[in-house]
Symmetry: C2
Subunit: 341 residues, 2 copies
């Protein structure tokens, strides 16, 4: 039976900007020895011709840095849901080598899951030059457009910066727990609607025989824990028509209200990644967005900025029904598979 939480969320997960503005609280710096062991692990995997995703954490031990990643995951899951790791060793590496370094780090964060209908565990966040989010099949990681506040499907999204754009691309994070507390105070009549869930467009990545959109809750409360998933607004807005319906005004109001609260200046922090920075956000308790980015003054295209993304589920993570995050354990194989990048 569903339980709609009517008390504010307390503890470090319900933060405002002022609580997290001192980024040293959630920043972890890899020292030279840590960088060296990560790089050497990656080189060894490459020399053996192994696929990093076929390996277990214990087979890739990091005696110096494993503890840092464990503290980082603890901060994500049980703290503010926000962490930055600086100094990931990617300087001078090929894209394939950087993938392997990211894989080594990923093994120490948790279990990486497929992020699209093709089964990719690492995706490139860059301007893929295949169109805009208002098209019917494009996803956020494939464009250089601004993205509104949203969460990703698994427990944690990890973004590793390889190159930054000439301009833009700032990253913003807000606490979904604090958004809930504000909703409880200002718009309690909308709460049930978030628990009931809305439809999200698969963007052409639906598994064979399934409808072109899926239903997902925005908030769920289980085992005394509130969990949030707020997927991209564009997917919520394009889903109803794909199903032959329309978005009701109350649904639009609920989405607008959530985003308006997230976007209040007192509620979010912003940052800009430099090469080697790894930004981590906990999707259970935070939402994030990014600014548009470009090499050009007109913002049209970008050929520079390049992040890699992992979707990670932590070990012994919180339990909640699949309805709270349909694709927490990764996207299934799609009926139609998109072109290779």
């Amino acid at each position: 039976m569903t339980h709609i939480l009517k008390e504010p969320v307390t503890g470090p997960s319900a933060w405002r900007r002022a609580d997290v503005e001192d980024s040293s609280q959630w920043t972890y710096i890899l020292d030279e020895k840590m960088r060296k062991e990560i790089l050497e692990s990656a080189e060894k995997i490459a020399a053996n011709g192994d696929d990093v995703w076929s390996l277990s954490r214990t087979s890739v031990p990091l005696s110096r840095s494993a503890d840092l990643f464990a503290r980082c995951v603890d901060e994500l899951e049980n703290g503010r849901g926000l962490a930055m790791v600086r100094g990931v060793p990617i300087e001078g590496l090929s894209l394939e080598e950087a993938h392997t370094v990211f894989g080594v780090v990923g093994l120490h964060l948790g279990k990486a899951v497929p992020q699209n209908g093709r089964g990719d565990r690492v995706v490139s966040i860059k301007d893929h030059g295949i169109g805009r989010l208002n098209s019917k099949t494009v996803r956020g990681y494939q464009t250089n457009e601004a993205l509104p506040f949203h969460s990703d499907a698994p427990d944690i999204a990890a973004l590793l910066c390889l190159q930054q754009a000439q301009q833009g691309g700032e990253f913003y994070v807000a606490s979904a727990m604090q958004i809930y507390n504000t909703l409880l105070e200002e718009a309690p009549e909308l709460l049930g609607l978030y628990y009931a869930g809305i439809f999200y467009d698969y963007r052409g990545e639906e598994p064979p025989g399934e409808p072109p959109a899926y239903k997902n809750a925005i908030f769920g409360y289980h085992n005394n824990q509130l969990t949030c998933r707020y997927f991209l607004r564009q997917f919520a807005d394009s889903a109803p028509a794909k199903l032959g319906f329309f978005q009701s005004e109350a649904e639009k109001l609920a989405l607008d209200t959530f985003e308006e609260i997230a976007a209040r200046e007192e509620n979010y922090v912003s940052m800009r990644l430099a090469p080697g920075d790894m930004q981590l956000v906990d999707d259970n308790i935070t939402v994030h967005r990014r600014a548009a980015y470009s090499d050009e003054a007109d913002g049209a295209t970008d050929t520079t900025r390049h992040l890699l993304r992992l979707w990670i589920n932590v070990e012994n993570g919180r339990e909640f029904p699949q309805f709270v995050s349909t694709h927490r354990w990764g996207m299934k194989r799609a009926a139609t598979v998109q072109q290779k990048d």
Copy 2:
């Protein structure tokens, strides 16, 4: 922009049992002269070979009883939403003759609209012997089962009793406005969900090319008036699977809560119709249900009870968006047309 009402509804529409228990407040009795003019009008229409639905109200004047029907409609729309007219002259008439009498009365209530995908303006509420409501195509008026609280699509539902069952068939009415007031007090977190709407099964009567279910609000607030539509729970429960989805727990909670409040003893009144009784309910402000009925002690079948139903929109009725009652103006022609009764 949607507005979610956060104040209780006031006035006669928000009633409890104690406010309406004296049925003389909302009972209208046709005297012998009224009965005679209605019967004579119907006989004249039949003698001319006219279809009553092709006629206008002005062409079928009722100099003695028109005012009674006007007061009745005013009580429905602006009062308690509940009325009983006693003494409709149907004794000894054939079914076709009773249809015409009902049509004459209907013209003086408002505009009758099609109630199914076949375009019928009068439907027979009886045990059609075509199965149960848990089947995929059966509608409430076609079975002898108990029906939970619900509303019909137009402003007014008028039920004319031709014959009553040996047992059962009691009719219950509750104020949807009072249900709203209780929700506001006890479960305000669910309100937005009712405005957002849920899906209802077409039961095979979808217009060509449309999905097998439609989305409809439960409450809507427009022009300072709250309007309710609560369609049959069975249709809400069977719709998601037809679309390839599921009913979320929060949606189930919202439906359960609505029905639990309606079913509280202090909230509804009950009655049992006798031949010639016409029960009227205003679907904008009330919900109704009926008990199972049967000729048999085991409740299996019924060959006796027979009501006729009209769906009526009143002249200059309240305005609200189509989403609040998708079929207020009648059902469109269905892709698949059911068998004639």
